[in-house]
Symmetry: C2
Subunit: 450 residues, 2 copies
Amino acid sequence: MSTIDPLSNPQINADVIIESRWLASMAPSNALLENHAVIVQKGLIAEILPISDARKKYTASSLVCLDEHILIPGLINLHTHAAMGMMRGMADDLPLMAWLNNHIWPAEKVVLSPQYVKDATLLACAEMLASGTTCFNDMYFYPEATALAAGEAGIRANLGLVVLDFPTAYATDADDYLQKGFNAHDSWRSNPLITSSIAPHAPYTVSDQTFEKVVIYAEQLSVGIHTHLHETRQEITQSEAQFGIRPIQRMANLGLLGPNLVAAHCVHLLENEMELLAEYGCHVAHCASSNLKLASGIAPVAALLAKGVNVGLGTDSVASNNRLDMLSEMRLSALLAKGFSEDATAVPAYQALQMATINAAKAMGMDNKIGSIEVGKFADLTAVRLGDLETLPYYDPIAHLVYSCGREQVSHTWVAGELRYSNGVFTNIEPTELKEIIQTWQPKLRQYKN
Amino acid sequence: MSTIDPLSNPQINADVIIESRWLASMAPSNALLENHAVIVQKGLIAEILPISDARKKYTASSLVCLDEHILIPGLINLHTHAAMGMMRGMADDLPLMAWLNNHIWPAEKVVLSPQYVKDATLLACAEMLASGTTCFNDMYFYPEATALAAGEAGIRANLGLVVLDFPTAYATDADDYLQKGFNAHDSWRSNPLITSSIAPHAPYTVSDQTFEKVVIYAEQLSVGIHTHLHETRQEITQSEAQFGIRPIQRMANLGLLGPNLVAAHCVHLLENEMELLAEYGCHVAHCASSNLKLASGIAPVAALLAKGVNVGLGTDSVASNNRLDMLSEMRLSALLAKGFSEDATAVPAYQALQMATINAAKAMGMDNKIGSIEVGKFADLTAVRLGDLETLPYYDPIAHLVYSCGREQVSHTWVAGELRYSNGVFTNIEPTELKEIIQTWQPKLRQYKN
């Protein structure tokens, strides 16, 4: 009779066990674990331990073995307008104002509706899940429709309650936008995947009075603020003409600057403006592709990081990118920072991955829940193949992820422990149906193409 | 008895018929054909005609129907060092001189041999074919080994006969490099896929005397010249200190400038230097990713094009990119030109595609044979899927190709009418074997990683 080793008989039943060749926890930033397993219980990360130990301790109905992969925190898209999904490539190679006035805005006038927002967001969610994104920070009309689509796809979203001072199909004036936003906010309170921010669109579309209200309501609701800031030179010139000051100073005067502000773009900044952002603890959503494509310019990311500003990455919408692809944004942001600052050590690979994960979580005030692979956080996880022929060999897994891999190497995406995408297959999205939905909108939008 | 329509019974037997939803011939530049077929006979494009007509006129043993694709001229990588393939990601996030002195050069010292060059080039060819590249303009040691690998993979290559003034494992001095180059040139004369250029490495590694010889030999052999030029500020400063003039002026004085020169990089250019390049009809190989990654800077591509300089695109090697991915280079070059020039109309999508096809063919003096889809040219062709869910919808096929699609959408690659890659499968390359070959080299190189 042989003695039974009590450890050879796993005692604990987990929901999911993910065994991975490499694991970048991002806590601390550049830690890299080898042959570790993540144990998932009730959507949360219950334990991280060597595979050999995990096999002794746990059993699970779902075991995923990633033998040539890196497991990373789910990527977070810190600035997008998911519902512009149907406008991908509708108008390329155009200056910003011609693009907005002659294409984007007329098209929005025709299609803007809850159904459009839901359908287009579902498309965006499919693209994001398939490229390893598990959470997006959004700003668009009809956010309750965005929430429906995100819920259907099973992706996490921090939805901006958009505020403007001019009427659209969605709302008539600032108070109406705010009221509709609060109703939306109430509607998803019980949805664990959806959170809110208040999203005054930009300094050139929102009045002082409205910004002041936004600050008060954001505090009352304990939510963040998400706005566009210093995207173009024109925005700054216009502010100087209208208000006598640059937009950031105006935001400072109005009480907008603070640790609950996510400022998208921040392309054109003076030295003291970077210091202002750092002092106030503001967060920047760097949108490299969009800023290049609309010829807004190149944001001084290396300088911002050096000053201690927390910077995350965003795709902006597919109307100005034209991909919702955070792997592409990581690569571009790391490369662009080096070329622009003429310093090859600027934004090394692990820092690009930080920007796409934990930095973005911090920016949304959600770093206690997501952004790293740590016990107690949601199991929002992405697996990326490192061993495809076209990307071999590799020496440093994180650098390989950022510089060599593309979204085509994303193999698995989990949100709160639920597998939402795996090797070309979505759990909740039926591609054929979604393609049919696209076909209902594209003919309406085609007339606005350039 | 019924009358037989003579046209309903195809009369002509073609080698290959490729029917495509969209076809970008690049002749003229932005022409876009719908539902056309390319007829291939003996490796050449025999006819381009509407699908309906093709079905009446031709039959073929190989018929490929591309119902949601764009067929484009095979992409041409105008500047690379394929044999650095095994050094992908070996040393990232480092300044140029630390990268060269502490990593690349010591590693080369250890592995440099014909076998290494052949093996590493085969890996590079696999990556290039899988991402739609049908021809590459190379510069490396042991070019006859590069030719062997290219021949094995079935990809077209214009191989630089590298010349330096210092010894390596390959050759001892300039004359030895030249003689070895001429021997290599002779060795592939009967190979229809391989052509030559003479490749003096760079102004900082080649003497005046050697450059003068290069000019004479290039004329005698009727081949082009391929060099690195104005890649970094340091190169320029060093030239000013050593020769009293900037490298381009030195090249002009030595007779290097002319329509047979492909100058890689050209990042830092004065106004009059751009004019000089235009006047002499020189060609520039723009390497956006590499220039950013090594922090060399951002080349003034929009200005060069405006002055009439012919610009093609190159990946440089995977040691500084880290992808041999021309779709990624097209997208980056189009975006970067806009952001850098702050002009959203700079380098529109069709111009990026021109740079990656016909412009590169012109640069190598091969535009009578490749670079566009025209009758009489080689059937070097690439098909890209436009209808994948993650890239839908699309409005303009060429803009979609450049801004939304990635190499993951490349479905077919033909070189001289031979299918070399299709949906994950290579005709001549066995991935498992190639992965084993990589495993023989990687341990030798790993010690040089950062």
